[in-house]
């Protein structure tokens, strides 16, 4: 299967997104073969390029290289008529345009969906705005920190009722990007069948609420009850928790899903009698006695490393996982066996996390790391579209501004 085409080869995406959610959506498509042309504005670069300009720091952040890998970078000022015409030319030769600005921004550039359809009748436009294209809050802006709180995700995450305020999980930009990729794929399959493009409206707020906590909303509408904070405990199974191990800030998690796992756990941690104790006989009873059970487990885990504890538990068929930090994830034997981390083929140093899924035995390699600002101006603007003179898209270092500049 090694020489099969990647599934998205031949699809061209014009990428007007910035920061994290939108770029993650296009990264997924790029990982699987799409040609993603990222249009950048030099006077206010993408926030992920950071706030420093010395020694071209904006080209060297690992986060940038990761989130924008496999993409091409061209620099265009869409407020400038002649440069916007170049962007129109790109759109006329594209399958999909993805953007993540507030709703009126495309119109300000005279690049609304109607105009895009004139340029390319079956164009797909995917808008990943904070609140959607319509409604009283449509023009509002959003980052993960505000949206996670507004979505209902944050109010459900905390140790207990005393956790004030509830805690962030901080992964919302990525999950919204994944949902953005769901939207792109849905519209592409539809176009294959019908020949028609369309405008897809992804409200990041709705994507989070519908895509991550739909059952909690359904339950709330049905009963009027908001799901309680449950810390590391499980709604059904018991025990479930995160237990201190030997070492600095080391923990192991486990979740007992069946009665036979409960018996195995009791034997493993040196309390075989507990397996027969009627006060622990069902998950409901174990929920009631959870604090006492936690003490028994911690007594056992405290003398072991988190990885040794996990191995003993898994060996007895109990769901368990060490709480790994980034270094431990990077060195994890299972991920190494699956060749999850790999270097890019462009010869740049170091490894990157792999594309997240494998089609027919092939995990696509990473072709190139996130591009330098305007790295592909010559290749894309001078070559692919044609007829563009170098002077039309050149910029000088004095023109470069960051998203962190206050003027």
């Amino acid at each position: 299967m090694g020489n099969r085409r990647l599934p998205m080869e031949g699809v061209r995406i014009v990428d007007l997104t910035h920061d994290w959610a939108g770029p993650h959506a296009t990264r997924l498509l790029a990982d699987y073969g799409a040609e993603v042309i990222k249009i950048e504005y030099v006077r206010r670069m993408d926030g992920m390029r950071g706030g420093r300009k010395e020694r071209e720091a904006y080209n060297h952040h690992p986060r940038w290289k990761q989130i924008n890998r496999n993409k091409l970078s061209v620099t265009l000022d869409l407020t400038n008529d002649s440069q916007r015409r170049i962007a129109e030319n790109l759109i006329a030769h594209a399958d999909v345009v993805v953007e993540s600005s507030r709703p009126r921004v495309l119109d300000r550039w005279k690049l609304g969906f109607d105009r895009m359809q004139e340029l390319k009748p079956d164009i797909i436009l995917v808008s990943l705005s904070a609140f959607g294209q319509t409604g009283p809050d449509a023009t509002y802006g959003g980052y993960g920190g505000g949206l996670e709180a507004l979505s209902g995700v944050q109010v459900l995450t905390g140790y207990d009722a005393e956790t004030r305020p509830p805690l962030r999980i901080k992964e919302i930009d990525v999950t919204n990007g994944v949902m953005g990729a769901c939207a792109i794929m849905t519209a592409l399959v539809y176009r294959t069948r019908t020949g028609r493009g369309q405008h897809v409206d992804v409200s990041q707020l709705e994507a989070m609420t519908s895509g991550l906590i739909g059952e909690h909303l359904l339950g709330f509408f049905d009963s009027g009850i908001q799901s309680p904070l449950r810390g590391n405990r499980h709604t059904e199974h018991a025990p479930s928790g995160c237990y201190r191990c030997a070492g600095d800030d080391k923990y192991v998690t486990l979740c007992v899903q069946t009665e036979s796992q409960w018996v195995s756990l009791c034997q493993l941690i040196g309390h075989p009698d507990a397996a027969l104790d009627p006060q622990f006989a069902t998950p409901a009873l174990r929920h009631a006695a959870h604090d006492a059970i936690d003490r028994m487990i911690t007594h056992w885990t405290g003398g072991r490393t988190h990885e040794a504890a996990m191995a003993c538990l898994q060996d007895r068929g109990i769901a368990a996982g060490a709480v790994l930090n980034a270094e431990e994830v990077a060195n994890n034997v299972h991920l190494q066996a699956r060749a999850f981390f790999a270097a890019a083929r462009d010869g740049s140093p170091g490894n990157y996390p792999g594309p997240p899924f494998v089609l027919s035995g092939e995990r696509p390699g990473i072709r190139r790391i996130g591009p330098r600002l305007g790295e592909h101006n010559d290749e894309v603007l001078g070559g692919m579209v044609g007829k563009l003179k170098e002077g039309e898209y050149r910029y000088g270092p004095e023109e470069i501004g960051t998203a962190f500049d206050i003027k």
């Binding site: 690992p62 028609r196 409206d201 769901a319 994830v329 990077a330 991920l335 996390p353 494998v358 206050i406």
Partner: protein
């Protein structure tokens, strides 16, 4: 009425729990015919997990009702000898299989991809599992907390002084469900040109690793190992603060809008030059945080949100589920809608995760166990009533 994007697909759905059913919920909502194959008598174990719908005497799981909208349910004991022939007949009608058993299960009952592909050339089979189809953890058990721990995300979640915390939402499960949807459609998309089929390997663990892609990249390239720090963010202000009636998300971005907006805090000292740039606010984090508190303490959360947004800053507030349910934005967009749940009556649910201008998402109630046995076995496959009766008596369905 326009065509649904996936109305040409029929999916044989061997999934249970969360990740698999969320993938097939999206497929069904966008038009695929999804035939959920469940174990006779008990079905998907989530059917037995509370909380339960209120207005109905039998136990109907809230989680099951959410995850299985617009699907059909048939019962089949896949371990029974008769299952081979039945699955082969079902595959005459279904070009996609989605399953999330442990990796050894489908091959052990004679339904490996290699076998199924002989029954249906060009078959797309999406296999979702805890740790993937290969590798030393292949057969390990997991639950949400275990996946979250092994992904590196849990180490970064929670208070610095306490144990790591797992999230309220089943985030690794849902992320994997979305990835499975994307991968399946990528294969469908490629298959339109070259129908070779695919066996797709979705590891919930690896999908969850993408959620911490930045912290992984920063370790791999800078040797940086982060630690959890509650809600604190590098940038200032960029987190929840207590306000008059709850918590407001005070977000100092887009950075360029800060200066013109800072007057909202009614605190002249905040306009001092040392707080103008975010670097200065980061340097003077504590004193800056003190300065914005008086205005926040006398202002309600929704007013903080509206005041910040009116000044082009991306503020928010900590919404309870009641706040979410009553949100004027959601109401204006009709985000919540009634789904008629049969004897449970109409139940309100979230709408689709994204909206198509030229097509639509549809949500009908989740099926009762084996509700579509007659429709599928008799109507689609042509079994006779007495054959069905025999299969029922033998425990096949």
């Amino acid at each position: 009425m326009s065509t649904q994007p996936l109305s040409h697909l029929t999916v044989l759905d061997f999934t249970h729990h969360i990740a698999g059913p969320y993938c097939t919920k999206l497929l069904a909502g966008f038009g695929a015919t999804v035939i959920k194959v469940e174990r006779p008598h008990t079905g998907d174990a989530i059917r037995q997990r509370g909380p339960w719908l209120k207005n109905v005497s039998e136990r109907r799981s809230v989680l099951f009702e959410w995850l299985n909208t617009s699907k059909k349910s048939i019962t089949l004991d896949i371990k029974s000898p008769a299952a081979q022939g039945i699955v082969a007949r079902l595959l005459n009608h279904a070009g996609v299989v989605v399953e999330n058993f442990a990796p050894s299960t489908m091959p052990s009952v004679g339904f490996s991809y290699e076998v199924l592909r002989t029954m249906r050339p060009g078959l797309i089979m999406t296999s979702i599992s805890n740790f993937g189809q290969t590798g030393p953890y292949r057969d390990f058990k997991a639950d949400e907390i275990v996946e979250y721990a092994l992904s590196g995300a849990m180490h970064l979640t929670g208070d610095a002084a306490r144990e790591p915390l797992s999230p309220g939402p089943s985030i690794t499960q849902y992320t994997a469900g979305m990835c499975a949807y994307i991968a399946t459609l990528m294969s469908v998309f490629r298959g339109a040109a070259t129908p070779e089929g695919d066996h797709i390997d979705i590891s919930i663990h690896e999908c969850a690793l993408d959620n911490v892609e930045v912290s992984l990249a920063e370790f791999l390239h800078l040797g940086k190992v982060g630690r959890r720090n509650a809600n604190e963010h590098t940038l200032v202000p960029w987190r929840l603060y207590p306000c008059h009636d709850g918590y407001a998300a005070v977000i100092g971005g887009p950075i360029r809008n800060w200066l013109s907006a800072a007057g909202m805090f009614e605190e002249p000292r905040i306009l001092d030059q040392k707080y103008e740039h975010v670097a200065g606010r980061m340097e003077h984090r504590e004193e800056f945080n003190e300065l914005i508190q008086p205005w926040l303490r006398r202002t309600g959360k929704k007013d903080v949100y509206a005041t910040g947004q009116a000044r082009r800053l991306a503020f928010g507030y900590l919404a309870s589920l009641a706040d979410v349910a009553e949100s004027p934005q959601h109401q204006a967009r009709e985000f919540f809608g009634d789904v008629n749940c049969g004897s449970a009556g109409p139940v309100k649910m979230c709408g689709p995760p994204f909206r198509l201008s030229d097509s639509f998402f549809e949500q009908n109630r989740a099926p009762l166990l084996g509700e579509h046995n007659d429709e599928i076995y008799k109507g689609l496959l042509g079994f006779q009533a007495k054959e069905l009766e025999a299969m029922r008596n033998e425990g096949v369905i």
